[in-house]
């Protein structure tokens, strides 16, 4: 693999050899990765892997760490205020003072983020509308449900239209409809060029949103890359699965097809065809189909076997455990 060398790339977010210790417990070991401008980066890992610690280092909430972190060219350890102007952050368990209404909280955070009154008056209704919170604008946040509070959390993170969004488990505790809404918003922001780093335990959500994924396990970055890159690192050869209506005797002859590396018969009517490295199923499926039809094979189904993010994730995390 694997962990990137951040010095080799110019990213909007650059973490270079970041380590963090809590007493005797080493939470992060030389974590390095970069995120390009406009990229949506999914950060996944088991509980206690160090995701939140990484995010707190990135946001400047933890300043006692080893290594270097820069955002938009600014060093977080030396130019925190500059970084904070670029940053929107949604913590894992977002909390507000109990007496605050949504309106009051957003106005305060807007002012603290440097917005003027006109900008605040313009942004708040837009965000409340976007997150379906307009009806509860003057309600106390302490009276809202967890999901609604999470929405207010996202609203405060988006208030000043930040260049970088850091979201710690943004989809946790949301109902399916709200999750869908959050994902749409993040995808839309990504299209507009906002750089997004988010962590999640819900791997299907990561698969839906992220351009690239970083897998963290026990404080170490195990893999960074697009989902396809991670899959191909695990299994560099595409596999095509063919299911037939009945037994097919000539299955071994499929090896003669160009770009086919290996053929197996796990069941009498099921054939697994492993392709050469670099060959894709799109390229070879047609040849396989033609051969099977020509030789009397009665095809029930033919499909490329693809690893899910769950399988990719588990492989890398299990690797750490072993």
């Amino acid at each position: 693999m694997t962990p990137e060398n951040p010095r080799s790339k110019n990213g909007f977010v650059v973490l270079s050899d970041v380590s963090k210790k809590y007493g005797n417990f080493q939470a992060l070991y030389d974590v390095s990765f970069t995120i390009s401008e406009g990229e949506i980066f999914g950060y996944v890992g088991p509980n206690g892997a160090g995701k939140t610690t990484t995010m707190k280092i990135l946001t400047g909430l933890i300043s006692d760490f080893q290594g270097e972190v820069s955002i938009g060219g600014y060093q977080i350890s030396k130019q925190k205020n500059e970084v904070h102007k670029l940053l929107g952050y949604l913590p894992q368990n977002v909390a507000f003072q109990e007496w605050r209404t949504i309106d009051h909280a957003l106005k305060t955070f807007g002012k603290l983020s440097g917005l003027n009154d006109a900008e605040i008056e313009n942004r708040i209704p837009h965000l409340l509308d976007l997150l379906s919170l307009s009806d509860v604008r003057h309600k106390k946040i302490s009276q809202l449900s967890g999901g609604m509070t999470q929405k207010v959390g996202l609203a405060q993170a988006l208030l000043h239209d930040p260049k970088l969004l850091v979201l710690d488990e943004p989809l946790g505790g949301l109902d399916p409809l709200s999750r869908h809404q959050f994902k749409d918003i993040l995808l839309e922001l990504g299209k507009k060029g906002t750089t997004i780093l988010f962590s999640s335990h819900i791997l299907s959500d990561v698969q839906d949103i992220a351009n690239r994924v970083g897998i963290l396990s026990k404080g170490r970055i195990k893999q960074v890359g697009s989902l396809n890159e991670l899959k191909s690192r695990l299994s560099p050869h595409d596999i095509i699965e063919v299911e037939l209506a009945d037994v097919f005797d000539k299955w071994q002859e499929l090896e003669s097809i160009e770009n086919v590396r290996n053929v197996e018969l796990p069941k009498p009517n099921k054939i697994l065809i492993t392709l050469d490295e670099g060959a894709t199923s799109d390229l070879v499926t047609n040849d396989i189909l033609q051969y099977l039809l020509k030789t009397g094979g009665r095809i029930r189904s033919i499909k490329p076997m693809s690893l899910s993010l769950d399988e990719v994730y588990l492989s890398y995390v299990e690797e750490t455990k072993s």
Partner: protein, 221 residues
């Protein structure tokens, strides 16, 4: 400089969470109750003004330090500060805003309490004597000096305490003892002790504030 914004915000918080009402109405009510209790117990009609200064000096400091330490510990443990600290503002402004807002609230409550005492005396006994007024003024100055020290002690206890319970214990054990430091000139029978009391209070208060801010700046959230 975000201090004015945070200060007004904190005051709004006290107003909306009804802390102000309890303080501004509660302290005068306790003063009146004290007076009636002492009248019933001793048979002597101690002037309301004297009672109110005693109540203010004994309660205001404790209220201030407990309010501050509990508020900070609670917000710290609920991770409320994270949304503030990721914005371009100085950490010290968060603490100073809390300090000033609590101090102002308690100071107003003290003024109201003593003013109510004076009004009560005026309506029950007629014009107030010069001696009582002078004592009330001195007592108020001493109380406000002690409140300033209590506030700064509450601030530092709030920053270092891991839980509300520990914070309250430390406040009651330590905060109240520190708040007595400005009384040293009075205890030493120095003539005209008030200027010394205020000077000591300012010195101790600034030292504790500086320590609290330093600890808060270093805190990892």
């Amino acid at each position: 400089m975000q201090l004015p914004l945070l200060f007004i915000d904190e005051l709004q918080g006290f107003y909306k969470s009804k802390v102000m009402i309890f303080l501004w109405i509660g302290l005068p009510i306790i003063t009146l109750l004290f007076r009636f209790i002492s009248l019933g117990a001793t048979g002597q009609a101690i002037p309301f003004t004297v009672i109110s200064t005693i109540v203010v000096s004994s309660l205001a400091g404790t209220l201030a330090s407990v309010m501050l330490s509990v508020s900070i510990i609670n917000e710290k443990n609920r991770h409320v500060y994270e949304l503030f600290l990721i914005r371009p503002l100085k950490r010290r402004d968060i603490l100073l805003a809390k300090f000033l807002s609590v101090y102002v609230c308690i100071a107003i409550a003290s003024f109201i309490s003593i003013f109510v005492g004076m009004l009560a005396d005026y309506f029950t006994a007629g014009a107030l004597s010069g001696a009582i007024l002078s004592e009330a003024t001195k007592s108020l100055a001493t109380s406000l000096s002690m409140v300033a020290v209590s506030c700064s002690a509450g601030l530092i206890i709030g920053v270092i305490s891991p839980s509300v319970l520990v914070g309250v214990i430390l406040t009651l054990y330590g905060g109240n003892q520190i708040a007595v430091i400005p009384l040293v000139p009075t205890l030493l029978n120095i003539s005209e002790p008030i200027p010394f009391t205020m000077a000591i209070a300012i010195t101790v208060c600034v030292a504790l504030l500086a320590a609290a801010i330093t600890l808060f700046e270093r805190k990892q959230f």
